[in-house]
Amino acid sequence: MNAKTQDLSARSGKTARGVLLATLAFGFGLPTVLLAAVLVLSPVSKPAMLVAALRAVGVDLSAWSPNARYVLWAVVMVVLALIIVTFAAVISGMTVWWEMRVSARMQSRIGYNRVGAGGYFQWIADAVKLLFKEDLIPADADKLLFRASPYFVLTGFALVFVALPFGESLIAADLNVGIFYITAVTALVVVGILIAGWSSNSKWALFGGMRSAAQVISYEIPAGLSAMVPVLMSGTLSMQGITRSQGAWPWEWHAFTNPFALVAFGIFFVSQLAEGNRTPFDLPEAESELVAGYLSEYSGFRFALFFLVEFGNLWVMSAIAVTLFFGGWQVPFAGPEVFAAARGAGELPGATWWGLQVASMLVFVTKTLLVLNVVVWVRWTLPRIRVDQMMSLCWKYLVPFAFVTFVATLLWEILVARAPVASHVAGGAMVAAMVVVAFFFARQTRQNISAVGDRVDFTNW
């Protein structure tokens, strides 16, 4: 035993090159493959494109009966849906890994570092472990509802991806009621949580479910109202329409062209935190109060589904915020005319167009990951608020301010219609102000390190 310890002590903490390469290949490869599948399938799944694409590979659909064509189209859509749900699961797992790494550093710990380079494969190991765990159902639980609730949650989560734009043409369905649809299907999650809380036959779970219901339903209102601000600014509910009405540069984003939109973003962000049950609004599963809230009695695969949704929601809320306020997938120097020119007149778009799609997807993913990091950061800094404070924050602060931003945006739009320069001036001024704030924040951060006698050291990341 001691001899073994000795051997291990001699081993350094360095990761073997093979492990590192495998981790990098898998860590970047898996999302890349999934994103590439989304990239190809989401334009191709449109009926006209599907016909053209198949003709290009030598299959002529015009000979098929209409029903057969519908079936084929449905199959492609199902494949796309599966890819997107898989992407959601993978991104949720990766978020877990990343969050654990970041939170560990914030707490002077190392965090995941054993399975794969940087402990990357830990989320896979955890998922496998959860799948193999015993599936427990409490004795007096309502078994049907207990089994059903994770699927409500998963459905509410997965349906959001239908209207989530990944790029210029990369969206499963560009609904003309996009943001309204997203708000609506998100509410399905709370149904699942409420069912989970009630059917578990546990007082803690019941508390969690009730808190969650109160919280999510209340915060729908400020979230919806503040989401109306970009809708007002772009004049459409469609997610692609909202993105297209913004530009690629920060001073063309909704958040910075209208001072009230920035406030609206704050309200939207807080509301999304609350709807996603993230700290400081993790009351439904407050571990120090309710043990695990509505999750108390769940284990194994059902727990894994809840967990997946919780972390996948990070991506969803960040993606929605990016689309509404931060210019979505807009690529610099590539306006709609560039996309149109690249597409060409043919039935199938040209290679440049695909390249532009990749660029737009990269922009979108990068922005989303940045916002996602902010959510992670907030979670590991703030304590949890109390249930009555949660209500008072919603109804006394967020809702009135959301109304104010809503009305003020109406007035602002009238002003911009009269004098378009107002939006440019606001954009320039607010971006400059943001840069100044970021500078001071970075300086403050730097001072924090030297104030306690530490020094900047990234060597052990």
């Binding site: 939170s103 914030m106 707490q107 002077s108 710990r109 007082k203 508390f207 009730m210 808190r211 700290t279 400081p280 993790d282 009351l283 407050a286 571990e287 120090s288 109060e289 309710l290 043990v291 590991w380 800094t381 703030l382 304590p383 949890r384 608020i385 109390r386 249930v387 009555d388 404070q389 924090n448 104030a451 306690v452 006698g453």
Partner: protein, 379 residues
């Protein structure tokens, strides 16, 4: 007890009983609270203690006087040094021993370091109960340094068994004093950072200010001690008002709850008094290290300790408040009776009176602001 409560609960009003414990993340050990709630609002919370009873007082009658010392570590394992000190002082009173000054200084140094360590756990777990995890681990990180220091001093990190009847077990190791001073320099800055990180966080303040207010007279009536009592604005500290050991030689302030963000005696005051006490303890350790006298570290103690028949009471200011040891000797080499009076036990009694009208989340704040440690409640 459960039956008693079940009878009282009015089923018509959809009240329910929640067994808040014995295994619950925020009971800080094995305590049960029988909570009658109407939704989120508590009707009352009744503490049900005794899950961690280990008969330590009885053990004190069965093992000899020196042999009981390691058991005192287990009375309050978060701040074991004070339990050591209290017992040692009580037996020294029985033996009419004069403890050498250097030993007294070493006792003060070790105890104040231990107080910092204990308060770091207290404020850290309190923050964790309120929902933030990061500050708790920052506190634990600083405590690790203290643990390392105490480990270098006496060889153990948790159950120190450092004090002896008539003195202390070890003198300072070489280079220890500089390590402590370096740590304290860092620690004072850390306290500022900790306050900025969480103490004045608006959510945190709002969660604690004006919550579970224990007015001063009520705190006295319930026998609250230590930071819980001082948080209620009662200016009482055994170290200053009934000095023992080396404490008369040190200058230090006794922080008192002034209603920093709410009214005096609320959860935030109890929390913040501990933060301030850590800074004062740091000052005491500095002074003690500067004025450390030379000399013996133990008095001349007979190998077979047989005090004359009699009784002795010692009072020390533990991290959890006044801790009293009452030792009765019948002239043999084993105590006739050992009684430990601890702060956590009396703190439990106040919960039932304070709890009506609180919310479930406030109960968590109340429990952690009282800084109860389950083994100290039950002994």
């Amino acid at each position: 007890m459960e039956k008693l409560i079940l009878r009282r609960v009015d089923r018509q009003n959809e009240e329910m009983i929640l067994n808040f414990g014995p295994q619950h993340p925020s009971t800080h050990g094995v305590i049960n609270f029988l909570v009658e709630t109407d939704g989120e609002v508590l009707k009352r919370a009744t503490p049900d203690v005794g899950y961690l009873h280990r008969s330590i007082e009885k053990i004190g009658e069965l093992v000899g006087y020196p042999g009981f010392m390691p058991y005192t570590d287990r009375v309050d394992y978060v701040a074991a040094m004070f339990a050591n000190e209290g017992y040692a002082i009580a037996v020294e009173k029985l033996l009419k021993l004069e403890v050498p000054p250097r030993a007294q200084w070493l006792r003060a140094i070790s105890c104040e370091l231990c107080r910092i360590a204990s308060h770091l756990v207290s404020v850290g777990t309190m923050v964790m109960d309120i929902g933030a995890f990061t500050p708790m681990l920052h506190g634990i990180r600083e405590r690790e340094t203290i643990n390392d220091l105490i480990e270098a001093l006496c060889g153990a990190r948790l159950t120190y068994n450092y004090h002896r009847i008539g003195g202390v077990a070890f003198d300072l190791p070489e280079g220890w004093r500089d390590k402590v001073l370096a740590f304290l320099d860092h620690f004072d800055k850390f306290l500022v950072e900790y306050d900025r990180l969480i103490s004045f966080n608006e959510i945190y303040v709002k969660r604690l200010a004006n919550v579970a207010v224990i007015p001063g007279p009520m705190a006295v009536n319930y026998g609250l001690v230590g930071p819980n009592l001082r948080g209620s604005g009662v200016d009482w500290d055994v170290r200053r008002d009934m000095p023992y050991g080396a404490y008369p030689n040190f200058q230090f302030k006794v922080p008192v709850g002034k209603g920093y963000f709410g009214v005096s005696g609320d959860s935030f005051d109890r929390y913040y008094v501990r933060c301030l006490e850590m800074a004062e303890s740091s000052k005491i350790v500095r002074q003690a290290l500067e004025s450390l006298p030379e000399g013996e570290i133990t008095a001349k103690v007979p190998r077979n300790i047989k005090p004359e028949a009699g009784e002795a009471l010692s009072r020390v200011e533990s991290a959890r408040g006044e801790m009293a040891y009452y030792v009765v000797s019948d002239g043999t080499n084993k105590a006739y009776r050992v009684r430990v009076r601890t702060g956590s036990f009396t703190a439990m009694s106040v919960i039932e009176d304070i709890s009506p009208g609180l919310m479930v989340a406030d109960l968590v704040a109340l429990i952690s602001s009282l800084d109860v440690v389950a083994p100290e409640i039950d002994r």
